[in-house]
């Protein structure tokens, strides 16, 4: 593939006091792929993802989006650059409606005097957009777009959070443990959502501890160990036991031995 990576990171370093969470970590995401990021607890994968999504600022290193260097100081900045993150806690407001949640922080105002002077929100436009996005992702079982998010099941909430990211994430979508809190059936639903999003051409970074899920949907697997990228493997060439062996240090990948 002669494709250029859409998102790259080189030599990321992040220290918390004496602890080095990221030790010259590298990262590459190619257009249209699902890249899984796996690693032991404390390997620094969440620090790396937070650096990419703007939640932390790395001490050293460089992040490039479409070849341009970027320096995010907050998740909001990363978001406006087209990187959407679905956090493990989903970041939804339970008492607000589905439509309100999808547009939180980027509301549409009515055109003309009502919007400009009275700051009136365009409810109709927001509800229509939200409904369209949810049906695109096959979530039309949600009947009422004005339903409070707290009345939805765990899987539906996850669906709303993924739909929000898919609707606004123009360049990259990051999913942090999207199936960790879900049952078998709801997990399946979310995996389908992820594949749907990829089919629409948006690359996805998937952080998960669930090996079967990772091996099922990922195109490439980034294995993080001791604060840096150990290797990137193709799930078709390796077994789950290999991946676990790499990430726990029981075995070294071929290229690492060669190098």
């Amino acid at each position: 593939m002669a494709l250029e990576p859409i998102l790259t990171a080189r030599g990321l370093v992040k220290r918390y006091g004496r602890v080095t969470a990221l030790d010259h970590a590298d990262f590459d995401l190619y257009p249209g792929e699902i890249l899984a990021v796996i690693g032991d607890n404390g390997a620094g994968k969440s620090s790396m993802i937070k650096a990419i999504s703007g939640a932390i600022t790395p001490d050293e290193g460089e992040i490039k989006l479409e070849g341009q260097p970027v320096h995010f100081r907050s998740p909001i900045e990363a978001r406006s650059a087209g990187i959407e993150t679905v956090y493990q806690n989903l970041a939804l407001s339970p008492a607000l409606s589905i439509a309100d949640n999808m547009f939180l922080g980027r509301e549409i105002r009515k055109p003309g005097v009502m919007g400009q002077w009275f700051r009136k929100l365009d409810r109709t436009a927001m509800e229509k957009f939200a409904r369209d996005k949810l049906s695109e992702l096959g979530l039309m079982t949600i009947q009422n777009i004005n339903q409070a998010v707290e009345t939805l099941s765990g899987g539906q909430r996850q669906g709303v959070a993924v739909a929000r990211a898919a609707a606004f994430g123009s360049k990259v979508i990051i999913l942090d443990e999207p199936t960790a809190a879900l049952g078998v059936k709801e997990s399946r639903r979310v995996l389908e959502l992820i594949l749907d999003v990829r089919r629409r051409g948006i690359p996805i970074v998937l952080i998960s501890h669930n090996m079967p899920h990772v091996f099922e949907v990922a195109d490439r697997i980034h294995i993080h160990r001791l604060g840096r990228r150990l290797t990137v493997i193709n799930p078709k060439d390796y077994t789950m036991s290999d991946a676990v062996a790499f990430m726990t240090g029981a075995k070294l990948p071929a290229e690492a031995i060669a190098a």
Binding site: G32, E33, P75, I76, R79, T85, Y87, N89, L90, A91, L92, S93, P94, A95, L96, D100, N101, L104, G105, R106, E107, R109, F118, R119, K120, L121, R123, S135, E136, L137, G138, L139, M140, T141, Q143, N144, Q147, A148, E150, T151, L152, S153, G155, Q156, V184, K185, R188, R189, L191, E192, L195, D196, R198, R199, R200, G201, P212, E216, V217
Partner: protein
């Protein structure tokens, strides 16, 4: 790879994502419904619970209508006159305005114990700036409003930047502002005659419009307009939705793109400004500028908010509920006074109402569980 699918996928599992795990094979045989929202087979009580969940100000409105009806039946024309009805409005005007400020703060999961103190200090500033320094009344009123907004801003800074609990911040500010108020005013009341002779603008909200027996003071009209304006802002502007989001789950709101600190500071500042407005209306209501007036405004405003069905945990409820809550208290106090009972019965019943309101709130919330 970049094949786009704009066609709605429906609830069917899409191609290429057949269950890959052995244990998931059985899923193909499972029910295809992801979730259903059973709107048909519900008992009337469940339907009612859902209705109340969707319209949080319905409970206080029902209680208000019932209490007006009951007092009307007991007292007849003495209670059901335009004069009595509008008298209730006049009596709740101050609590209603302060309650609006309290509503904003409580919606962000905070609490403001300093509302009454800010109100009194602002009214004292308006009076003293006019009479001690000889400022034109209009300028003195502006200074009073600025003073209220500043007090609120300090509350907001301490809550948002220093991350101190709102209860502690406003408990401290309550004492600080009240003490400053007594120190500054030297515990001196400005008499009503002096105000009406030299600075009638300070008593502006005491003016009224009469329709037959009905008396609407400007203070009542200000309360109604303020609540209507805030209702619009809370429900139809991004700022208003963010107030709810911040109260609901501040971390989620922050990640979703709401500037939580700026929201909290703006809410507390606006609350202080509204309290200053209440201070101006207070001069109209009692005629004089007294540093000892409005001692219980903080407790009364919290009572109105709680009876109005707003959750003290933030993010839930409507400002209309607050005004209904204030009116319920007003109807009970005046109704029981007209019946001629010991006024302690009023407090007893209000206590019962507060506890029932929170109990009902808990029951309604179970709809989500």
């Amino acid at each position: 790879m970049s094949e786009t699918s704009t066609v709605p996928q429906g609830a069917q599992p899409s191609q290429g994502s057949q269950p890959s795990q052995e244990f998931e094979k059985v899923l193909t045989g499972s029910a295809t419904q992801v979730a259903s929202f059973d709107t048909h087979d519900k008992t009337p009580i469940q339907k009612f619970q859902h209705f109340l969940h969707g319209s949080p100000s319905a409970v206080p409105l029902i209680v208000l209508v019932l209490s007006v009806a009951v007092f009307g039946i007991i007292l007849g024309g003495k209670f059901f006159s335009a004069f009595t009805m509008t008298l209730i409005l006049q009596q709740v005007a101050i609590v209603g305005i302060v309650g609006a400020a309290q509503t904003l703060v409580i919606l962000t999961a905070g609490i403001d114990l300093s509302v009454g103190a800010i109100m009194v200090l602002s009214s004292v500033v308006m009076g003293q700036f006019t009479f001690r320094y000889g400022l034109p009344p209009s300028l003195a009123v502006l200074c009073g409003l600025a003073c209220g907004a500043l007090c609120g801003y300090i509350n907001g800074l301490l809550v948002a930047r220093m991350k101190l609990p709102p209860f502690i911040v406003t408990l401290g500010m309550w004492q600080i502002i009240l003490a400053s108020n007594f120190l500054y005013s030297a515990n001196e009341t400005i008499r009503s005659q002096d105000i009406s002779a030299q600075a009638p603008l300070l008593q502006f909200f005491g003016n009224n419009i009469r329709f037959g027996g009905a008396v609407f003071t400007y203070g009542v009209i200000a309360m109604v307009l303020l609540v209507a304006l805030l209702w619009y802002v809370l429900n139809h502007t991004a700022w208003g939705r963010h107030v709810y989001a911040v109260g609901d789950d501040p971390d989620a709101a922050e990640l979703a793109g709401v500037n939580v600190k700026r929201m909290l500071i703006s809410v507390y500042t606006l609350s202080g400004l509204i309290c200053a407005l209440a201070g101006w209306a207070l001069i109209g209501r009692i005629g004089s500028v007294s540093p000892t007036a409005g001692q219980f405004a903080n407790i009364e405003s919290i009572t109105a908010v709680v009876i109005g069905g707003l959750s003290l945990f933030g993010g839930r409820g409507s400002i209309l509920g607050m005004i209904f809550g204030a009116l319920i208290v007003g109807v009970f106090s005046l109704g029981l006074r007209l019946i001629g009972t010991d006024p302690q019965w009023t407090y007893l019943l209000i206590g019962v109402l507060i506890i029932s309101a929170v109990a009902i709130d808990q029951w309604i919330r179970k709809v989500a569980g």
